[in-house]
């Protein structure tokens, strides 16, 4: 038997809207568990524009993407939300007793009375580099992530990219690989200067090769790579390799949400505007992933949706409790939950 984690509300996606939902649900005594494919909270704000300014969060004239996420994390801390990162929610099914069972791609199982889909523009997944025929090698000799370093022992490795993932894996895999070549389109890197210096030191010591250029073609058989053609500033070079790790950043794909039996409309989940419930009772959708007449894909709108959704979720989880409307300013019981009452 796999171990099952139980919670009141399971939230798919830890973007700004999923995070704020923890607050609204927490005020109503509902415990939350969030799952995200990213390795940290914040969704688009953290992944796509951590340093860019946002100007339309009420009462914050300007806040950067990452700062907004940090503030949300601080705001929800009193409710002790649980997080499972680096996992994609793979399946969602209804249990006979009315609750739901959610499982991740790694097989972890969760049971919740209510599911909130705050999946935004979809799950962040590695971008496939524009190399013709690369699909045939994926999963056999081309990988977009490293789950086990041992899998690369003794291989001729080609790592492509100039960001932190490319540089970190170059440093980590150099000792296990037979030979390692890093390819990047230019001699400057986005990665942290410290990693770049370490990589350059390895190159100076002759322990890795570095090639400026873009991978144009792959050669191999039955999904197993033999070599890659790299077009450099002057000419093309052929680099022998048995494994390729391209790190071209992330893109958002709807992913498994489409397979959960919920009505979809052009990759968005239609909801009502009273409870933001989907076609399946007990499953709510808030933030960028939902659609209703007049919908605006703004963080502000997602926050509002979270507040209304929480009221409906409360009635499902605690059907016999009366929900009293209260202000955080004046309600001592809310202040106790927030830990601000001494």
């Amino acid at each position: 038997m796999t171990q099952v984690t139980k919670t009141d509300v399971l939230i798919v996606g830890a973007g700004p809207v999923g995070l704020f939902a923890v607050f609204e649900l927490g005020l109503l005594d509902l415990k939350c568990h969030l799952i995200d494919i990213l390795d940290r909270p914040g969704g688009q704000c953290a992944e796509l524009y951590p340093e860019k300014p946002i100007y339309d969060i009420p009462a914050l004239p300007v806040v950067s993407g990452q700062e907004l996420v940090d503030r949300l994390m601080e705001q929800i801390r009193p409710f002790d939300p649980q997080f499972t990162f680096s996992r994609i929610v793979a399946s969602l099914e209804r249990l006979p007793d009315g609750g739901f069972r959610v499982t991740t791609d790694e097989g972890e199982a969760f049971e919740a009375k209510v599911v909130v889909i705050a999946a935004g523009g979809g799950s962040f997944q590695p971008k496939r580099p524009p190399i013709p025929g690369i699909e045939a090698y994926e999963g056999k000799s081309v990988f977009y992530a490293v789950r086990r370093m041992e899998a690369f022992r003794g291989e001729d490795l080609l790592i492509v990219g100039g960001g932190d993932s490319a540089l970190d894996w170059t440093l980590n895999l150099q000792p296990v690989a037979r030979r390692l070549t890093l390819v990047h389109r230019r001699p400057e890197f986005r990665a942290a200067p410290d990693s770049v210096n370490k990589m350059l030191a390895l190159k100076e010591a002759g322990k890795i090769d570095f090639q400026v250029g873009q991978v144009k073609a792959l050669t191999g058989e039955n999904g197993m790579l033999k070599s890659a053609t790299v077009k450099g500033p002057q000419d093309e070079v052929e680099i022998a390799c048995t494994r390729l790790l391209p790190f071209f950043g992330l893109t958002m794909k709807l992913g498994p949400v489409a397979e959960w039996g919920i009505n979809l409309n052009e990759n968005l989940i239609p909801v009502d505007t009273e409870k933001f419930e989907t076609s399946e009772p007990g499953i709510f959708a808030i933030g960028d992933i939902n659609h209703y007449p007049g919908k605006l894909k703004l963080i502000l709108s997602g926050f509002h949706e979270a507040a209304l959704m929480a009221q409906a979720a409360k009635r499902i989880v605690h059907p016999n409790e009366k929900v009293v409307f209260q202000y955080t300013t004046s309600s001592t019981s809310l202040q106790k939950k927030l830990g601000v009452l001494d």
């Binding site: 796509l48 524009y49 990219g161 960001g163 986005r190 071209f248 950043g249 893109t251």
Partner: protein
């Protein structure tokens, strides 16, 4: 007003009158130039507004800044004349500018 010419990958030409201060990307979107996706709406965060600046114009248009160079790492078939069109502001000196749309955005 400044005249811009977009050449789509299939060769179709779009001549547009652009307001100074707007971005080249905004003018492509407004005029439905195929192949410019601009998913992030011009925040230099997606690299799906990649264009090739006509060789005659590269000096006037100028080089990308560091943030744009970083983002260009994610574009397809990057050339020395590659730019992200959301980072090119239309100004008088660009009157007559020609940019080409690549085969695909990342």
């Amino acid at each position: 007003m400044t005249k811009l010419t977009f050449i789509a990958f299939d060769g179709a030409t779009f001549e547009v009158e652009a307001e100074n201060g707007s971005t080249v990307m905004e003018n492509a979107i407004r005029n439905g130039v195929p192949g410019i996706e601009a998913e992030c709406g011009g925040a230099c965060a997606c690299a799906t507004c990649h264009v090739y600046v006509d060789e005659e114009w590269t000096d006037v248009v100028g080089q990308p800044e560091a943030m744009e160079e970083d983002m260009l790492d994610f574009a397809y078939e990057v050339q020395p004349n590659s730019r992200l069109s959301c980072q090119i502001r239309v100004r008088e000196e660009l009157d007559g500018l020609v940019v080409r749309v690549p085969e695909r955005q990342a």
